[in-house]
């Protein structure tokens, strides 16, 4: 009985996943392709989102009447030494509220997209990724321990990557997607560090256990866990100085931009900080740091918002500013305010984003120009145009050194490692069509690669094999073909000679005489 309940609870985050899988299968086996398949795809995506929202609402009512479910252990996953990991889901007021709000937003956006993306070539792909994203957000919010949340965290990163590069034919879309994904990996490193520390020192990464443990001991371990998670949260929510990626990330269809960067995914970091807030209260220094980050983001976003001329970019920078304010609120300890702010902002922002495609029809006046004092300061103007050089800085200090290092490593590989180990021969691989034709007309001859080694070890092998082949030819095969049979021939000839002698009577007589002599 209990197992059924657990299964049902597990179904909440996995239902969108199953829906996505179904759409994906349909794409592979071609039953939902094209305009005909749009109806089915839409039904499945919207249906799964509605079911999830319904069951979440039931849970909300149930929790309101019976009290919070708390952490639910769905199944044990692995146990090694003192490390324990299980699949946990957490149903407390914070997670249930956010899950319901996010599901509602995703459901409405999905419904909106059914019409918005009608006759779009990649209709199915869009809904597949949106389903994945829904599952990812549910896992983040409902995850009962760091690991389950991390699974959602990564799934969200991947679906974000896939939707930014939705029109992958455009180069800007695919480079922006890569940029967003790589920047997010920085935050993932912090998240992984937190998981690692929690598992190594406390053997457990459940949210509830983390809070208890951190109360018990405030140490380097607690600090590094909190810092790691703050790093992850700041990157996901595009806080300064990780803000650059989000302004490039609006390449996908507008509904998805709205959901990801306007109202849902961008709040994942805030959710993480809300979870951490009881721990933050114990750490004034880290709280001040967080407040500084939030403030920097607010200033950065405010300046840039003045300069934007297109609707989506203006919206994204004001989003950033709002989130910066939420971060400050959390750092100050006003968590309820931050939660309410989050919910209201998410709903308002998705409305704005979904409206933005028809914005020009609704407004008559052009966008106001930047304030006069702003226009006069050339330096500030320039800085804002360049978006405070965040991209440039990242390129100079991170991308270029990495590229140089990779270059050096490749050189080392070519000059030293390849020479030692040898590379696989490319001789029977023709690289051009001209070579192919030359081969077919017979003007190009390929050398046999049999028994030819490359690299130091290959040459050693070759030398050894050549020596053995010499031995084999001279001593084994030759002696056997000429030798044994040859010896038999020679012996046979000798025997024939003796036979010929013996046939002559005088030798026979001599032989008989000799025998008699010996016998006597």
């Amino acid at each position: 009985m209990v197992d059924w309940l657990h299964l049902g609870l597990l179904l909440i985050p996995t239902l969108p996943l199953i829906a996505g899988l179904w759409i994906g299968l349909g794409m592979i086996f071609k039953w939902n392709r094209g305009e005909k398949g749009e109806r089915e795809t839409a039904y499945i995506a919207v249906g799964s989102a509605s079911l999830v929202l319904l069951s979440l609402l039931v849970l909300v009512i149930y929790s309101g009447m019976q009290g919070s479910l708390g952490t639910v252990v769905i199944s044990r996953w692995l146990e090694s030494g003192n490390v324990q990991a299980s699949v946990n889901l957490l149903f407390d007021p914070l997670s249930l509220t956010l899950a319901s709000v996010f599901s509602l937003i995703i459901l409405l956006t999905l419904r909106f997209s059914v019409n918005y993306l009608h006759r779009e070539a990649s209709f199915q792909r869009f809904f597949l990724i949106m389903c994945l994203f829904h599952a990812a957000m549910l896992l983040i919010v409902l995850g009962g321990n760091l690991m389950v949340t991390f699974v959602g965290w990564e799934l969200a990163g991947i679906s974000s990557y896939l939707l930014i590069s939705y029109s992958w034919q455009r180069e800007y879309a695919s480079t922006s997607a890569t940029r967003a994904f790589v920047t997010n990996r920085v935050g993932d490193a912090g998240f992984l560090l937190a998981i690692f520390m929690a598992l190594i020192y406390w053997g457990n990464s459940d949210w509830e256990a983390l809070l208890v443990q951190s109360q018990a001991e405030s140490s380097l371990v607690t600090n590094s866990i909190v810092l790691g998670l703050i790093l992850a949260a700041c990157v996901k929510s595009a806080q300064f100085p990780f803000s650059a990626w989000i302004s490039h990330a609006l390449e996908g269809p507008t509904p998805s931009s709205g959901v990801f960067y306007g109202s849902v995914m961008v709040h994942a970091g805030v959710y993480l900080l809300l979870r951490l807030s009881p721990m933050l209260e114990q750490m004034p220094i880290i709280s001040w740091l967080l407040a500084a980050v939030g403030l920097a983001t607010v200033i950065y976003a405010w300046f840039l918002a003045q300069m934007q001329t297109d609707i989506k970019s203006s919206l994204i920078f004001s989003t950033l500013m709002q989130i910066g304010i939420m971060v400050i609120e959390i750092a100050a300890g006003w968590t309820s305010l931050a939660l309410v702010h989050l919910i209201l902002h998410a709903i308002w922002r998705i409305y704005q984003f979904l409206l933005s495609p028809s914005f020009l029809q609704q407004t008559s006046s052009p966008a106001p120009a930047a304030p006069a004092w702003f226009q006069q300061s050339v330096w500030l103007h320039n800085a804002c145009l360049q978006r405070f050089w965040l991209d440039r800085l990242a390129d100079t200090f991170l991308v270029r050194p990495t590229r140089l290092l990779a270059h050096e490593a490749q050189l080392f590989d070519q000059q030293v490692v390849d020479r030692l180990t040898g590379t696989p021969s490319h001789v029977n691989m023709l690289s051009t069509l001209a070579q192919m034709q030359a081969l077919q007309t017979g003007s190009l001859q390929l050398n046999s690669q049999v028994g030819i080694g490359s690299g130091m070890f290959g040459k050693l092998l070759q030398r050894l094999a050549e020596m053995m082949e010499w031995f084999e030819e001279r001593l084994v095969l030759k002696s056997s073909s000429d030798g044994l049979a040859g010896l038999a021939t020679v012996l046979g000839q000798r025997a024939e000679l003796i036979e010929a002698y013996l046939r002559q009577p005088r030798y026979m007589l001599v032989l008989i005489a000799a025998t008699l002599v010996v016998v006597l």
Binding site: L464, V476, S480, S481, A485
Partner: protein, 487 residues
């Protein structure tokens, strides 16, 4: 009581006689009769498994009749866990060889008769329980083989056949001398395995060593051991493909089987010569592997790879413990299947393209996908990739060798590396690279060929993925053989 084994021995002979007395106008019946005979022999062998108790290490289904009282010779047959898999392998490979003999068009009456006689003689070697009869069957194998290579072989077939016979006979002389000494040293003056096992406690170690050396030369030619393998490349290359299957699939195993039996009979000698045997196995493995790597003739490459694989078997035998002997026995079966499959497939490929030079091939994947799957799986099985039977065999041999010599057996993995080198090279040359225009029309496998190859390759995978049944089958006998050497 029914003499199950004598019946088994007579089944192929009856088939051969049927073919012999078939009237001239019934030519088309020959192949079906041969196929039916081989199939029923195989079925009968499978039936025999139900009559045996593999948890019992003793020789079973014994049939013993006195032959010559004065010489102490008996018609004595029996099987145990070690010989049964080899008998089954013999029957399976003979069936496959007959199935893929479609290209033999001339003198088919003699051809199929000789194949069936060869099957009977080979089985005789595996089921006999006395050295006298062993020697008789050992020599009997030569006669059909000589004619099969000499009449139906390639261009150099006469030289190859003569060479093969001369080598084996030369080795047999030493084996015969050894057996005579053994007869002399045995106080019971008998050739029976059981009798010699009883006497081994009495025979002094020096005499045992001398006898063992004599046997080793005779058996080593077939196996083949390192300097005695001169006949092998030529014979394998020149023999018609179905005969190559039998040559490398079963004939080589006769040598290894005899070697295990000799070690069982003469334990003191085996311990004396243990390191020597190990060295020969090591050398054979590396030497065969390196030479295989140097060959551009596909058949020659497989022939040398057989030398290499039998080196692994020899290392397993030399370890003289349960794991090592188990590895040797398992590897014998595994190599029988893999080498059989490879010779069959390459033979079929040769029939279609008329070249065995690997450089003439390229991008056959498009034209012959079914071929490609089987060839790649067979080559991978030869490397001993986990999931194939070779892995189980090599692993046991490796563990057995490690228990005996420690890290010295690390060289075994070097041998596997070399095997991988030439196997993957072959895959690359056959199936990738520029399309060879002349080979775009190569026919893929026919259903019968696909079934025959599929059985062999499937057997390799089955024994690799689910090794327990064969391990159980071998276990008690192998343990009994290893017991006197301390397990």
């Amino acid at each position: 009581m029914i003499d199950f084994l004598i019946l088994l021995l007579f089944l192929p002979v009856v088939g051969a006689l049927l073919i012999l007395f078939l009237p001239e106008h019934r030519q088309p019946w020959i192949r079906p009769i041969a196929l039916a005979t081989a199939a029923s022999t195989l079925a009968y062998t499978v039936f025999l498994a139900t009559q045996m108790d593999f948890t019992n290490p003793a020789v079973q289904l014994v049939a013993e009749y006195q032959w010559n009282e004065r010489l102490g010779t008996y018609f004595s047959f029996g099987v145990d866990g070690l010989s049964y898999p080899l008998v089954a392998l013999t029957n399976l490979l003979t069936l496959v060889a007959i199935a893929v003999s479609t290209q033999i068009k001339e003198r088919i009456k003699a051809y199929y008769m000789l194949l069936l006689l060869l099957e009977a003689a080979t089985m005789g070697v595996f089921i006999t329980q006395g050295w006298a009869l062993f020697y008789v069957f050992w020599e009997l194998v030569l006669i059909p083989l000589f004619f099969l290579i000499d009449r139906w072989g390639g261009i150099n077939r006469q030289r190859a056949a003569l060479n093969f016979v001369l080598y084996t006979m030369g080795g047999s002389v030493f084996m015969l001398l050894g057996l005579l000494m053994l007869f002399d040293a045995n106080p019971e003056h008998r050739f029976l395995f059981a009798s010699i096992k009883r006497a081994s406690a009495v025979i002094p170690a020096e005499t045992q060593t001398l006898i063992f050396l004599g046997l080793m030369i005779g058996l080593g030619v077939k196996m083949p051991l390192f300097p005695l393998h001169g006949w092998l490349p030529l014979a394998h290359v020149e023999a018609p493909s179905p005969v190559s299957i039998l040559l490398s699939g079963i004939l080589l195993k006769m040598g290894a089987y005899g070697m295990i039996r000799s070690a069982e009979m003469l334990p003191a000698a085996a311990i004396n010569l243990q390191d020597f045997m190990m060295a020969l196995g090591m050398i054979g493995m590396l030497y065969g592997g390196l030479l295989a790597w140097r060959q551009s003739d596909l058949k020659k490459m497989i022939a040398y790879s057989s030398v290499s694989h039998m080196g692994v078997v020899m290392i397993g035998i030399a370890a003289l413990n349960t794991n090592g002997l188990m590895g040797a026995a398992y590897q014998m079966v595994a190599h029988g299947l893999v080498a059989g499959a490879l010779f069959m497939l390459i033979g079929l490929l040769y029939e279609r393209t008329h070249t065995r030079d690997i450089n003439d091939y390229g991008s056959l994947l498009r034209a012959t996908p079914r071929f490609a799957v089987l060839v790649v799986l067979a080559l991978v099985g030869g490397v001993g990739l986990p999931g194939t039977a070779g892995f189980i065999g090599e692993l046991h041999a490796l563990i057995g060798g490690f228990e005996r010599w420690g890290w010295l057996v690390a060289a075994l993995s070097l041998g596997m590396l070399i095997t991988a080198t030439y196997s993957l090279r072959t895959v690359k040359q056959l199936y990738t690279g520029p399309v060879n225009l002349g080979m775009r029309q190569v026919e893929d496998l026919h259903p019968l060929e696909l079934a025959a190859g599929g059985v062999l390759v499937g057997g390799t995978l089955l024994l690799g993925l689910y090794p327990l049944p064969l391990l159980h089958l071998l276990h008690s006998s192998v343990q009994a053989i290893a017991a006197p050497f301390g397990g």
